[in-house]
Symmetry: C2
Subunit: 241 residues, 2 copies
């Protein structure tokens, strides 16, 4: 019997150092909204998404390559940019054949951390590309870290629910001995058919909906497989695998 690879869930970027990243596929999870936006842009024909850690870098790179500079800080379009971190800002008629240069509060930061720690591979996951993520992880047959971006290092439930959705779909293919994964799966199974009804209880929902009215963003970010492609990090860019 061949040994199953490990799967762990890391519920905050501040805990990433506890895991063996270099032998693992790291799934960057930032449901509200970076990894939902990345899936949306690539699904709608973007050539690539370049994740960067600052607004000046987003502007500089986008100018150099004739791309779209975009990003958010604390839930709003970042100062100095015209485009934000909403998956609905990037329909095909706008983004097709263009490159998005994106900076966000949590998701792009976690991706940079996984890069710095020499992850074996990095992909981006959210409900819009749930099946593509699961299919890839099963085929790879390597150790997996489900990396929740959280909110400024705090635990959040939407990223954990997505981790739970992945675990419930593919757990028979992995060795899972971690309370974070157990919790994520139980939380997801409990909310499974009513994630949208549960959403108003989340702190990040309040931030996005009550302050910015982004209920359509929330709906998109929590809907499985509406942008079912796989963003894989390669050579500085997220591209469709």
């Amino acid at each position: 019997m061949s040994k199953k690879p490990f799967l762990h869930t890391c519920i905050s970027p501040a805990l990433l150092h506890l895991y063996d990243i270099s032998n693992s596929v790291v799934v960057i999870i930032d449901v509200f909204r970076a990894t939902s936006t990345i899936a949306s842009a690539l699904y709608n024909g973007a050539k690539a998404v370049i994740p960067v850690d600052s607004v000046p870098k987003a502007i500089e790179i986008s100018k150099r390559i004739d791309g779209i500079a975009a990003g958010e800080r604390d839930g709003m379009i970042a100062e100095g940019l015209k485009h934000g971190n909403s998956p609905l800002e990037y329909p095909r008629e706008f983004i097709e054949n263009k490159t998005l240069v994106l900076t966000t509060t949590n998701g792009t930061r976690l991706l940079q951390m996984a890069l710095d720690k020499n992850a074996d591979a990095i992909i981006a996951g959210s409900f819009p590309n749930l099946s593509a993520v699961c299919d890839y992880l099963v085929k790879q047959n390597k150790n997996v870290i489900l990396g929740c971006a959280g909110w400024k290092d705090r635990f959040n439930l939407e990223d954990t629910l997505f981790a739970g959705a992945v675990i419930s779909a593919i757990k028979k293919n992995f060795a899972i001995h971690c309370d974070s994964s157990l919790m994520a799966e139980i939380m997801y199974m409990k909310q499974k058919n009513k994630v949208l009804d549960f959403a108003p209880q989340l702190t990040h929902y309040h931030r996005l909906v009550e302050r910015f009215g982004l209920i359509e963003d929330i709906r998109y970010c929590l809907t499985p497989d509406v942008a079912n492609i796989l963003p894989v990090y390669s050579d500085g860019k997220l591209i469709v695998k």
Copy 2:
């Protein structure tokens, strides 16, 4: 209408820096087994429990004050010590009127961190003293951090379940806007009447039961109010309030 104090759940010592400790009562939670052992020893008449961060310090202090040096590393009685971190090692006939000098892997370390960050008050909580903890927190009417000791900075579910038990009992007295607390409460409410049946799924259960056969410890640590006193930290010691 008076403003309710805040309550947050910190699910790993590695996230403690995210919270405003200095204005809060910090509840140290290490269900398996430090805070259960502390409750047990004090309930059975120990004069005090002195938490220390190393075995040599436990030996040195216990010699000086004629106390009992005790502690564990990785689930076992620490090398050089005769007494460990089991709540069942400290019945009244052994511990009454003595001082326990205790060092553990996770709980005493978190307590030291809360001290270093100038917590307003520090108490120790586990299922054996659930009601005493809840009564105290409601009476204090101050901000609360439920600090889960976890396992070497990893999230664990038994500490989170205890946090959820506290939240479900006293939430109407606090302002709670944190996904960790929401998750803890949902997890607890789901397992509420079957925490012992759920325990075999926990990573720490395997460590303690399969490796060391400590099933009676597990039962004690998960039973509400069997040692219902309140350990409060004061001047280097945990004493009964």
